[in-house]
């Protein structure tokens, strides 16, 4: 029996795991399979600086090619794994090659949710998940071009901000009553709606897309209520679906993500999973989470690597996330689901810098910080400690952030 560790998936979690395996002192063979033609790269810039053409691929790739050769990591870019044979402990590639594993890591990430309304297959309708998507979208970047963004989540709004900066005519259609409704309080949603409008982006909430108009290329988006939004191109950002098919087909436990324990182990002791594709326990919140964030992919990559070499570095952290739009840096700590009170520090109605603290019966469970690094940095500790906070002290800006928890 060999010692090979095989990693399926070539994204953030896979690259981290490969690096951490070597850092943990693993000297056996490591093989990574990724179905994209590129070595692992960072996705956040795809809707930010890379989309804006401010940086090139050399600055989004996670590691240079030399990293893999220097560390004796065999890479199979552009190669898809189509089957896991658990009995034989091997994986099969799309063209039928088999590779044995002693331990296997699934870091298959997620893919975009597609919109299934009439006309959805027309040219000019894009999603945003990988480099190829960005290139297609950029081919339409022309001053005055009309872009309709379907979905007012982070990615849709980031695309809108970049397109506006490039002089395009941008409309965002959101089905819910407010943007980013899934994750933030109305205070934050309304703040972002205001800023986008100030920047010249049209935000239309409560609009469910019923179809796309056009011959072969999209010319308008149909709201289904008699309203047409003319478009030269469309970007759809309505969420993601975890890539769990391989795990399902080989009989691993999958429930809204590949089920893993705090050491990233699946229901098969020799198979691990990390990143967007997992459902993992979180001790701070006391329930399972499936997260879509760089921090989660990095930390689970580290934990899985440790576990594969017999170390235990359980993953139990406060989630965090960021989003860049215009001159706004949003940093989110924790998960606000189930909060009983949202306390504001700063002035979201007029300014461009504030924080919202989400309390659940006096305990802080999450913070959204817009251009507020102190609140962000401090709240990482406060949420981890499950600090109880006095709303009056949070709101009082004469009290320093470091002293909010005292008194």
């Amino acid at each position: 029996m060999g010692k090979d560790i095989i990693i399926v998936g070539g994204g953030q979690a896979a690259a981290q795991a490969a690096q951490s395996l070597r850092a943990e002192g693993f000297t056996g063979p490591i093989r990574i399979f990724g179905d994209e033609p590129h070595a692992p790269y960072q996705r956040p810039p795809l809707s930010k600086k890379f989309l804006a053409k401010e940086i090139g691929f050399d600055r989004v790739e996670l590691k240079p090619e030399s990293f893999y050769t220097d560390n004796d990591i065999a890479t199979h870019w552009g190669t898809r794994i189509t089957e896991i044979d658990r009995k034989g402990k091997r994986v099969l590639t799309a063209d039928g090659q088999a590779y044995d594993y002693a331990k296997l890591l699934l870091a298959t990430g997620s893919r975009v949710r597609e919109i299934n309304v009439p006309g959805f297959e027309m040219d000019g309708i894009y999603y945003l998940r990988n480099i190829a998507d960005v290139e297609a979208i950029q081919s339409h970047f022309k001053e005055g071009a009309r872009l309709v963004v379907v979905g007012g989540g982070y990615i849709g709004l980031e695309v809108a901000a970049v397109a506006k900066k490039h002089g395009m005519d941008v409309t965002v259609l959101e089905a819910a009553e407010r943007v980013m409704a899934r994750v933030v309080d109305p205070i934050v949603s309304h703040f972002y709606e205001r800023v986008h409008r100030e920047e010249g982006v049209k935000i239309e909430t409560g609009v469910t897309v019923a179809g796309f108009e056009g011959e072969s290329h999209v010319t308008a988006v149909d709201s289904g209520e008699g309203k047409l939004y003319p478009a030269d191109f469309v970007v759809v950002g309505i969420g993601i679906i975890p890539n769990t098919e391989l795990a399902v087909e080989c009989g691993l436990d999958v429930q809204n993500g590949i089920v893993v324990d705090e050491n990233c182990r699946t229901s098969d002791p020799d198979i691990f999973a990390a990143g967007d594709c997992t459902s993992h326990p979180n001790g701070i919140y006391g329930h399972r989470l499936r997260l879509e964030s760089v921090h989660n992919a990095i930390e689970q990559g580290k934990t899985a690597a440790a576990a594969m070499v017999g170390e235990e570095k359980p993953y139990n952290q406060v989630p965090w996330f960021w989003s860049d739009q215009y001159d706004l840096k949003l940093q989110i700590v924790g998960l606000s689901a189930g909060y009983t009170q949202a306390v504001v520090r700063g002035d979201p109605e007029n300014g461009r810098s504030f924080a919202v603290f989400y309390l659940k019966d006096d305990t802080v469970i999450a913070v959204d910080a817009v251009n507020r690094a102190p609140e962000f940095m401090m709240s990482k500790q406060l949420v981890h400690k499950k600090a109880t906070l006095d709303p009056a002290r949070i709101a009082d800006e004469s009290i320093k952030v470091k002293e909010i928890a005292q008194g």
């Binding site: 240079p64 030399s66 760089v294 921090h295 960021w322 940093q331 940095m377």
Partner: protein, 106 residues
């Protein structure tokens, strides 16, 4: 281009050439030098790229913007020499720069 020496907490030194336009953080990542995590990839959002830069070199670098300043203020193990290396663009002027890295970025 600048020759930069990155010194790990345990004293291990790495001297590499870094192209203009990249950041001091990217110089470490691209050369697989351990000690800088850079979780956010340079978005000035994570503070896991903190390094110590001697004062005489800081004079050749852009001043800290508010975001960097406040992130550092709260980062573990930061002191007055601390900078976020993703906010430090490499120029010819930084040739010979020597920076040290903290024991851990978390």
């Amino acid at each position: 281009m600048a020759k930069i020496t990155y010194v790990e907490h345990n004293g291990t030194e790495h001297t590499v050439d870094v192209a203009n336009g990249l950041t001091v953080m990217e110089g470490a990542i691209k050369n697989s030098i351990p000690g800088i995590d850079a979780d956010c990839g340079g978005a000035c959002a994570c503070a896991t790229c903190m390094v110590y830069v001697p004062k005489e070199w800081q004079a050749k670098m852009p001043e800290k913007e508010d975001m960097e300043e406040t992130m550092l203020d709260f980062a573990e193990a930061s002191n007055e020499d601390s900078r976020l290396s993703c906010q430090l663009p490499v120029t010819d002027e930084l040739d010979g720069l020597r920076i040290t890295m903290p024991e851990s970025q978390h």
